[in-house]
């Protein structure tokens, strides 16, 4: 099956996921077109992280279908490594490799996994450092960087693999308020360049600004969704209203 650009880049259909007897996702469906930015919001524990971790097969699912560029993720024969070359991920806790410098963190996967030429990768990595505005921090270790700086290295590290879509799991939730802005700025830049982004976030103003579509999840289901213009002003479900009133 070949995927065409008119079809969703990521297509999630009726996905169920349990941890043991505990059902976390109860029939989730959503589509993401190429170049789209979607935001998933919802109370803590509603299964947002679980959902996006299913997209790059960090979690497996029990039922349903996840297509990434036409490739079925819920397939025991899936080549996870091939899938993950297309799907980048940035985590709440940055998860940089502490024994490597910023530049090495960015270069390692393209050199070791994609077997690209080292000099070529270094050039790209230095450009990415500039892009995330960390010139001069190439040789700093993660421990020497602020949270916001580490998170921007993590974004650059993900970009270095040249993915088609990037998953962001509450990437500003662990940051000091003063460094949240610089990370959001970086993500906004990517969105403007046409990168397909799936974001889990609590930053409502940001979601309203960059998202093409917003999904509100609660207890494993999508309660309500829509484009930001209508989502925030015309929320109908009481759960959405309550959540928005608490957070806005």
């Amino acid at each position: 099956m070949t995927w065409t650009i008119n079809e969703p880049m990521v297509s999630i259909r009726d996905v169920y996921k349990s941890f043991g007897a505990f059902e976390v996702l109860k029939g989730i469906s959503l589509d993401v077109m190429k170049g789209e930015v979607i935001c998933i919001i919802g109370p803590s524990g509603s299964g947002k992280s679980t959902l996006i971790r299913c997209i790059n097969a960090l979690n497996d699912i029990q039922k349903g279908s996840i297509l990434v560029e036409g490739q079925e993720v819920n397939d025991p024969k899936l080549d996870k490594l091939e899938l993950r070359k297309k799907v980048g991920m940035v985590f709440q806790q940055y998860n940089l490799f502490p024994h490597k410098t910023a530049l090495q963190n960015i270069m390692m996967a393209p050199v070791r996994v994609l077997k690209q030429d080292k000099a070529e990768v270094e050039k790209i990595a230095r450009e990415l450092i500039r892009k995330v505005r960390l010139e001069g921090k190439e040789d700093a270790y993660p421990g020497e960087l602020s949270g916001g700086q580490q998170q921007r290295v993590a974004i650059a590290r993900s970009l270095a693999m040249n993915p088609d879509v990037i998953l962001f799991d509450e990437v500003t939730a662990a940051l000091d308020p003063e460094t949240v802005g610089e990370v959001l700025q970086t993500i906004k830049l990517l969105a403007e360049e046409g990168m397909t982004c799936i974001l889990v976030t609590h930053e409502m103003a940001f979601a309203r600004e960059v998202a093409d579509h917003i999904y509100f999840t609660d207890r494993g289901v999508i309660v309500e969704h829509g484009p930001p213009e209508t989502f925030f002003s015309e929320a109908k479900d009481p759960r959405t209203k309550e959540f928005l009133s608490q957070i806005l």
């Binding site: 998860n95 940089l96 502490p98 996967a109 996994v113």
Partner: protein, 282 residues
Amino acid sequence: MRTTTLKSVLPVLLPAKAKSGSLFSFRLKLWHGIILLCICLLTSTAGFAQSDPIKASVFEILLRWMPLLLTAFIFNIAISMLAMGIGTAAGTVLGLGQISPNAGLRKFCWFITQFFRNSPWLVLLFFAMFLLPFEFSIGGIDIPLPDWLKATIGLSLPVMANMSEIVRGAVNSLPSGQWEAAESLAYSRRQTLWLVILPQCVKRMLPPWMNLYSILTMATVLASVVGVSEVMTTTGRALASEGGRPDLLAPFYSFVLLIFFIYCYPIARWTVYLEKKFAVKG
């Protein structure tokens, strides 16, 4: 005997709090050495005043035997280093087996580890002495297996088991985010292990590994029980050839303790230093 796995991981997880009654809790202190030095000097010189002038003084006798004792001690060091090398290599393999995705291999390595970790070292030594052949042949060539080599292999068994636990504990002590980050960058399991996980583990493993070495060094005297000519055996022979004088016992044995202390104490200090350094930096 330690049977709970939780306790066995503790020294690795919490290097600074390793006082859980485990193998790793023993720590040499400077006053241990000072007391040994005092005993050695006092007992070897005390006899001076009243001793028979014809009989050589205790101190002179000790001085005469010192070169031989020190040479024998070097043999202990050699055994300890070789056993440490074998044990570290085998233990690393075993430890990696304990975290293998293959459940069968994992259980097997866990069992081997627990078996050798919970057996007394002396029993393992006898086990090696009597079960290993005195020679074996590879491709028609007979290679002798002298007693000291058998003893070394016997001592490397508990080192292997403890090393296996050190490796397992260090790998498990890393945050799972490190695995996830590597996986989501399309690293294979092997690449994750060798490029991301193990390099970070080396630092965490160093203090407990050095502790293990200290304990092994002190355990090399067990080889005297099976007749290897190491420092304890040599001391016994020296005492016998001096006619078994009871006034020689304390100075000779405290001298042996003292040289062990002089060798092991810097290692213990260095371990403490590394633990503190890594505890701060994380």
